[in-house]
């Protein structure tokens, strides 16, 4: 593959019903073998973007390519080279595990003698071998998610799309799913494009993250870059006497910014662990009594807050949020 990027989007746009702009002229590229995450709250345009990239929806404007194949003009080539792990459980409940995988294989026209072996290998990979002849009805949420993963891998895709891969899963199953995702990158060198609205997930898995809100990409970077862009760690200090210590603290090593907030000071530092003891020492020397000190490493939540002006926690998934999202997505196709 001479093409440098596994996925490339230029001005990609989707407008529904002539007025609802779901995805608004986004540009990004994903390198080969990279895990790229789309992070954003419900309704930000993540699933619409995936649907365009996997050739289910036609872009209203702009273009995108996967492995150099144009998603609009060469959609058949795109379809042969990608896999999808949808956020819903799409496996048929009345069919067994292996029947579901073989059905997926047939959709790619893979001959039975090849698909049978592949299906068994994949069932082994996702640790479902002993359940292969059981109806999916009897599967737990985690097992179904693994089955979806196996289905998405049946055509040995070079690029795998994962739409909210851990939505609604419990903590253990989520951790297990993360391990599978990491393994796909490591063992198969697969390019993975995933959407999520879990900050920890994006942080733990993604090589690079794009924060998307209201259909627009706000910022793209590695998790570390994004966190660093906030200016480092935040130290909060309170002292007994009501005197201004700004001038004193500013001179301390690594300190970038000092702000007084009510009765305490917010200090940004490039290296909080080093700065915090220095602050205490400097204040003591001047006879101040430190009553309170805290050190906070920035998380993606702060990054998110910084760039969108809203807390990501507000959009965390309650049962209703998932339901509302499903309904919205379903209606979008009208």
């Amino acid at each position: 593959m001479s093409e440098e990027d596994a996925i490339k989007a230029e001005g990609l746009t989707k407008v529904f019903n002539g007025s609802l702009v779901a995805v608004d002229h986004i540009n990004f590229s994903v390198k080969h073998g990279e895990i790229f995450g789309f992070l954003g709250p419900n309704g930000a345009g993540k699933t619409t973007t995936i649907n365009m990239l996997i050739t289910v929806l036609k872009p209203t404007d702009g273009k995108a390519s996967i492995l150099g194949y144009d998603i609009a003009k060469q959609n058949n080539e795109v379809r042969y080279s990608i896999g999808l792990v949808p956020q819903e459980y799409t496996a048929d409940e009345d069919l067994t595990g292996i029947e579901n995988i073989l059905l997926c294989a047939d959709l790619y026209g893979i001959p039975r003698e090849i698909s049978k072996k592949r299906a068994l290998d994949l069932l082994d990979l996702v640790e479902l071998t002993e359940f292969k002849d059981k109806k999916v009805q009897t599967f737990s949420g985690g097992m179904r998610r693994r089955l979806e993963l196996a289905c998405g891998l049946i055509n040995r895709p070079k690029v795998l799309f994962l739409d909210e891969p851990t939505l609604g899963l419990d903590v253990q199953t989520r951790a297990a799913t993360w391990n599978y995702i990491k393994m796909l990158k490591k063992e198969f060198g697969m390019t993975l494009f995933m959407t999520t609205h879990y900050l920890e997930e994006a942080d733990a898995l993604c090589d690079r993250i794009a924060i998307i809100d209201h259909g627009k990409i706000i910022v793209v970077g590695t998790p570390t870059e994004l966190k660093d862009s906030l200016g480092g760690d935040i130290i909060t200090v309170a002292i007994k006497k009501d005197v201004d210590i700004t001038g004193l603290v500013e001179k301390i090593e690594h300190v970038k910014e000092v702000k007084k907030e009510n009765d305490s000071y917010m200090i940004k530092s490039a290296n909080g662990e080093v700065t915090a003891p220095l602050i205490i020492e400097a204040l003591r020397k001047e006879g101040h009594v430190v009553t309170r000190l805290s050190l906070m490493k920035p998380t993606l939540n702060e990054v998110y807050l910084q760039y969108t002006g809203r807390s990501m926690r507000d959009a965390e998934d309650s049962g209703e949020a998932i339901h509302a999202k499903r309904m919205m997505m379903a209606r979008r196709r009208h």
Binding site: L107, I110, R156
Partner: protein, 303 residues
């Protein structure tokens, strides 16, 4: 790791896989299958057997008043009874084309089952969308036409099977084959069923593919179900209907299907020019609706 080299690139790959999925879902979870059978069987039992119209005009339902009967010898009474019985049979024969009303109705129920089954299968497309299965399939290299065709095909196969079951159930209830019946006619009946199911399922899939809620198709199905059934020759021949109902029944493709199947199954003679007309009508209906259904669905899937 080349996914492209070892796959067949035929235009219709996946057709049987998707059709078979529907069929498997159907016979592995037979609830819907049984429900679709219950209703026509109740109709058959109630109207065809319990409330048998044929009994009204049979000699059993005619008793002579005692003073009238006393004027005849037993031998004469026997002849009279025979006469009325013959008149009754003639009325039945000229009205229903057979002396057995349950046979007349059973054929109606076969067509009714086809209608019911295609409606149910049409609704499955709503689930496929809601549960994300449709999206998943759309991301694979299966042709869009194959996605719709598999739905049509599975609905058709299911309907044909269920219709055959109705025929089998009708036999112990008193179904009588007509004088013109030969086993080869069964093939003709299946040809009718194939055509009508093709048309109906394309229609229902095109109606349902746009909706994301079950309520919409339910309402549409209910709206269509009643007129399609009663404004047809399912229970009563069209010629005996009031003019306004005749006008509807005469364009209803189900009427042509039923009348054609009756010719093949229960009538004493077959009017071949009529039969050709019936095949032509149902055939054109199937061709037009399948084309419209597939084009509409295809355009929707390519949005």
């Amino acid at each position: 790791m080349s996914g492209m080299n070892n796959v067949s690139k035929s235009k219709i790959h996946g057709l049987w896989a998707l059709t078979n999925r529907e069929l498997k879902k159907w016979y592995k979870a037979p609830t819907v299958f049984i429900i679709t059978l219950i209703q026509p069987v109740i109709w058959l039992g109630l109207l065809g057997n319990a409330l048998n119209l044929g009994d009204l005009v049979s000699s059993n339902s005619i008793t002579f008043p005692a003073d009238l009967a006393s004027q005849f010898t037993p031998q004469q009474l026997g002849i009279l009874n025979q006469f009325f019985s013959n008149v009754g049979d003639q009325i039945l024969q000229s009205t229903f084309g057979t002396t057995s009303y349950i046979s007349f109705m059973a054929v109606g129920m076969i067509a009714f089952t086809a209608l019911f089954t295609t409606m149910f299968s049409g609704m499955s497309v709503v689930w496929d969308r809601r549960l994300g299965f449709l999206n998943k399939v759309l991301s694979t290299p299966v042709s869009r036409a194959v996605i719709i065709l598999s739905k049509v095909l599975s609905a058709t196969l299911r309907s044909m099977f269920q219709a055959a079951i109705i025929l089998l159930i009708a036999l112990p209830l008193g179904f009588q084959f007509g004088a013109a019946f030969t086993p080869i006619n069964i093939l003709g009946v299946f040809a009718f069923l194939f055509l009508i199911c093709l048309g109906l399922s394309s229609l229902f899939i095109a109606i349902n593919i746009r909706s994301t809620r079950m309520e919409t198709p339910m309402a549409v199905m209910n709206l269509l179900n009643l007129p399609l059934t009663f404004a047809s020759s399912a229970f009563f021949p069209i010629e005996r209907m009031p003019d306004w109902l005749q006008a509807v029944a005469n364009v209803n493709p189900l009427s042509y299907t039923m009348n054609g199947m009756r010719q093949l199954l229960i009538n004493s003679t077959i009017d071949y020019s009529q039969l050709a007309l019936q095949y032509a009508y149902v055939g054109i209906f199937a061709a037009v609706l399948t084309t419209i259904g597939i084009v509409l669905s295809w355009r929707f899937l390519n949005k």
